[in-house]
């Protein structure tokens, strides 16, 4: 327990920072209830028309479904690749491990805009051969998202593997377990929390990815962030405020649930 607590000055400054962090999230609530068709504060009456627009306008539904599909495919793909790679690193500790891991982490550290132009180059090159896999296709977006999320998945797996006791794997090996048995029956059950977290994080990162998506889509593969972007740049559509409120509520609920679960596990 820290015995040295922040004093009143620290608390006041921190309170201002906290207010600054929450302010834009609170500001979207009144905007989402405006009866006006443009971005404005509601004056007097409130309306739910922008929430209705989200359900009734097929563009929003289509993009939500597309984002979910891309999220599932890219998250499954990058989780499997990251799992195999991390198992290889942990079980065999090959030479040049640091260099190989560093290479895998590149898409995480390179500025996103450079990754975006790189993936744009890749997908436009593929488009020359194939019409359903390349620039502005959902499979192309899913692949690009996998490139961007796989470093994060790998980091999570390596972190949870580093907390695993090597001796249980050595025991299995000494008792004659094959590589496949060690991986699937000894190691994976022990890091299942890390695997699930990696899959969830990959899904969330794909779900909200915009920097790369902007470069590799135009009219067909309109994901939800892409549609929000279009609504933000041209005429600001208050439906975005309604959508933002829903996304914020989901985030708060998930975080509350998570801290509840963590506390429950800690209490046991």
């Amino acid at each position: 327990m820290p015995t040295y607590r922040p004093g009143p000055v620290s608390l006041i400054i921190a309170a201002f920072v906290a207010l600054f962090l929450l302010m834009p999230l609170l500001a979207v609530i009144p905007v989402s209830l405006t009866p006006s068709r443009m971005l404005a504060m509601p004056s007097g009456e409130l309306s739910l028309r922008h929430y209705r627009a989200l359900i009734e306008d097929p563009r929003w539904i289509d993009s939500i479904l597309l984002s979910i599909r891309i999220g599932f495919v890219s998250s499954a793909f990058s989780t499997v690749l990251a799992l195999c790679f991390s198992l290889g690193v942990w079980m065999f500790q090959p030479r040049f491990t640091a260099a190989l891991v560093g290479f895998v982490l590149l898409p995480m550290v390179v500025p996103p805009v450079v990754s975006a132009i790189t993936l744009y180059f890749l997908l436009t090159s593929i488009s020359g051969f194939s019409s359903f896999f390349g620039y502005d296709t959902w499979l192309g977006v899913a692949m690009a998202h996998s490139v961007m999320t796989v470093p994060f998945a790998t980091v999570l797996m390596l972190v949870s593997l580093s907390q695993l006791d090597r001796r249980i794997d050595l025991a299995a090996r000494g008792l004659g377990a094959s590589v496949w048995e060690r991986a699937t029956r000894i190691i994976m059950p022990n890091i299942k929390f890390g695997i699930i977290t990696a899959a969830l994080l990959s899904f969330v990162l794909s779900w909200e990815e915009i920097g790369v998506t902007l470069f590799i889509t135009s009219v067909n593969a309109i994901t939800l962030p892409r549609l929000m972007w279009m609504g933000l740049r041209d005429n600001i559509d208050p439906a975005i405020a309604a959508l933002s409120v829903i996304l914020i509520i989901i985030t708060v609920l998930v975080l509350a649930l998570r801290s509840f679960v963590v506390r429950l596990r800690g209490a046991r």
């Binding site: 820290p2 040295y4 607590r5 922040p6 620290s10 608390l11 921190a14 201002f16 920072v17 906290a18 600054f20 962090l21 929450l22 834009p24 999230l25 500001a27 979207v28 971005l39 504060m41 690749l81 790679f85 290889g88 690193v89 065999f92 090959p94 190989l100 290479f103 895998v104 590149l106 550290v109 390179v110 500025p111 996103p112 805009v113 450079v114 990754s115 790189t118 993936l119 744009y120 180059f121 890749l122 090159s125 692949m143 996998s146 490139v147 796989v150 790998t154 590589v179 969330v204 915009i210 920097g211 902007l214 962030p225 929000m228 933000l232 975005i240 933002s244 996304l247 975080l255 801290s259």
Partner: protein
């Protein structure tokens, strides 16, 4: 010997798919982008010469560095203030601080930029209220300029600065602070001459992370800058999609990668990777 061989085979088989995927889908196309920078529109170093002579490109680079510097100072200072409470506050204070850090962290960059538009635009909350109480007659220009970009980026980057700071504050030994207090140092003096110097590695790590992130920032400047305060990342986008000049866009990307790479090398000279989480 046989076990040794099969070990190497196993490692190779497990690691190959991801490495192959990233070589084909990331390393190879990046080399393609590098090639663009030397061959489009004409072969040679013309694009790199243009980077050094073109006034527009120069002004965008200078603006990017200026904004990144301001954002770094402001967000590390703000993150420091809230991290102190998150790490060393009472249990209730900690829960509140954690909520204020993690909720924005998990919300998408678009929603957060939109929140700032809703607050700062001419018909947004702040201007509406200030006009309603008669404080101003004309709306203040708070977005579509550098001010809006700095506010939005600072908001986005504070949580990223919090994590390295928190890690350095957690590893700090309480007894040192108690010793300082016991020897008669005031609260203020203990904070500035003991607490802050001892979290230096966290400050350096946070500052470099924020600075590197803000150099390549795209979404927030594009929305809150409204096309008027273009930063490097948006310039690349414009060169590729609006005035097709792929060579220049590619050359700017290559320069950006080299610059960020140099900064990362600097980062890892001062801070070990483990201290950043």
């Amino acid at each position: 010997m046989r076990a040794y061989l099969s070990d190497r085979m196993g490692a190779a088989l497990l690691m190959a798919p991801l490495l192959l995927f990233l070589v084909l889908a990331y390393a190879w196309p990046f080399l393609g982008v590098v090639k663009w920078s030397f061959t489009l529109p004409t072969p040679g170093l013309g694009q790199y010469e243009a980077l050094l002579t073109d006034d527009l490109v120069q002004s965008v680079f200078i603006r990017t560095l200026r904004i990144a510097a301001v954002v770094t100072v402001v967000s590390v200072a703000a993150a420091y203030a809230i991290t102190v409470v998150w790490v060393r506050g009472t249990p209730v204070q900690r829960v509140i601080a954690e909520f204020c850090i993690l909720v924005p962290f998990w919300i998408s960059v678009l929603t957060r930029a939109f929140g700032w538009v809703a607050l700062l635009s001419n018909r947004g909350l702040i201007n509406t209220w200030l006009q309603a109480i008669g404080f101003i007659s004309e709306p203040l220009a708070l977005v579509r300029n550098e001010f809006g970009v700095i506010v939005g980026m600072t908001h986005f980057l504070i949580p990223f600065a919090v994590f390295p700071l928190a890690s350095s504050m957690r590893s700090l030994d309480d007894r040192v602070l108690l010793a300082a207090r016991g020897l008669g140092s005031s609260r203020m003096r203990t904070f500035w001459s003991v607490f802050v110097p001892m979290t230096r590695s966290g400050i350096i790590g946070a500052a470099l992370i924020v600075f590197v992130f803000s150099l390549g920032f795209f979404v927030t400047p594009a929305i809150l800058g409204g096309g008027r305060s273009v930063m490097v990342a948006e310039l690349i986008y414009l060169r590729i999609f609006q005035s097709p000049d792929w060579g220049l866009g590619a050359a700017i990307s290559v320069v950006l990668v080299l610059f960020v790479g140099a900064l990362m090398a600097l980062l890892f000279r001062y801070v070990r990777p483990k201290q950043l989480i």
